[in-house]
């Protein structure tokens, strides 16, 4: 069975969007979270773990999420697996941040 991340030769692929894309702040943050957690200095996650977490996203999520959204979903999963944070803590924090954004 072909898995969703194994894209080589995937049927139905269209033209490539070659537009340059300036990374948004939250995308830089997603990258920085991964690089910091995976740095030899911290060693909290390994890149192979991150890949495993990305590759085991449900297919519809893998297809619909953007690149760094997949990373965030994967980091969240790893942090929960490692019992560093709970999903409830993240949900609660998201709610707090949401209020701050409302100004």
């Amino acid at each position: 069975m072909t898995r969703v991340h194994d894209r080589g030769g995937w049927p139905g692929a269209g033209p490539i969007d070659r537009q340059e894309h300036q990374l948004a702040d939250w995308e830089l943050l997603a990258d920085a979270l991964v690089q910091s957690l995976a740095s030899p200095h911290r060693g909290i996650i390994r890149i192979d773990e991150l890949r495993r977490a990305i590759e085991s996203l449900p297919s519809p999520d893998y297809e619909s999420l953007s690149y760094y959204e997949r990373w965030i979903a994967a980091v969240e999963r790893l942090m929960i697996e490692k019992k560093i944070v709970t999903r409830e803590e993240i949900d609660a924090k998201v709610a707090t941040l949401g209020e701050e954004c409302r100004e």
């Binding site: 030769g9 995937w10 979270l33 690089q35 910091s36 999420l65 944070v85």
Partner: protein, 213 residues
């Protein structure tokens, strides 16, 4: 707020550029807050990682390529042992995954993809462009490399053999592109400016500087 489900190929739609449009963007902020509150990471960790990301460019890759163009002995060393050759130019790659350097000639042309994810020689080229990470590039480059290169404006003669290299987390590739014709008297410093990121991925060839009209 929509998650944008059902737009599988539309990975870089403008709506995603707005930090507030994606629920996942908020979750990244929440993770940042929690991980720093708990002392798992420091704000300095995150800051320096962002700094490293935004300051890295294809300049080091271009430096290696330009030196290889002017110095055949260096080129041989670069192809044989890329990390040792890079160290000669003060580029330290010791902490990175294995690196392969492959040479494009008039007989063989290499192009690099990562079908499984987005593996890329960041240490030499900076962060990968969005298209490199796109599902379409990942799908098509191994199946129809000439068609992909055509979209980038590169039409290779049929007699040129095309080799596609699929990167992995443990093995990254840098393409040593062909030196543009008519640049025999161009200085190494000027040659560096001709070496484009895309030519080091293999989807295009470097062009000679435009002649004065």
């Amino acid at each position: 707020m929509s998650q944008g489900h059902g737009h599988g190929h539309d990975e870089h739609a403008p709506i995603r550029h707005d930090g507030h449009s994606s629920p996942l963007a908020r979750r990244a902020r929440a993770l940042e807050a929690l991980l720093t509150e708990k002392g798992v990471l420091t704000p300095a960790d995150i800051r320096s990682a962002i700094d490293a990301l935004v300051s890295r460019t294809p300049a080091d890759g271009a430096k290696l390529v330009a030196r290889a163009w002017v110095d055949p002995a260096f080129k041989a060393r670069l192809l044989a042992d890329p990390k040792a050759a890079a160290a000669e130019l003060g580029i330290d790659l010791t902490s990175y995954a294995r690196l392969g350097v492959v040479e494009n000639t008039d007989k063989v042309h290499h192009v690099v993809v990562c079908t499984l994810c987005s593996c890329y020689p960041r240490m030499l080229l900076g962060p990968p462009p969005a298209w490199y990470k796109s599902l379409n590039y990942r799908a098509r480059t191994v199946a129809d490399p000439r068609g992909v290169m055509r979209e980038f404006g590169l039409e290779l003669p049929p007699k040129v053999e095309v080799r596609v290299l699929d990167s992995t987390a443990d093995m990254r590739y840098l393409v040593l592109p062909r030196r543009p014709p008519g640049t025999e008297h161009v200085s190494e410093a000027e040659l560096r400016s001709l070496v484009t990121r895309d030519s080091m991925i293999g989807v295009s060839n470097p062009q000679p500087e435009r002649a004065h009209v």
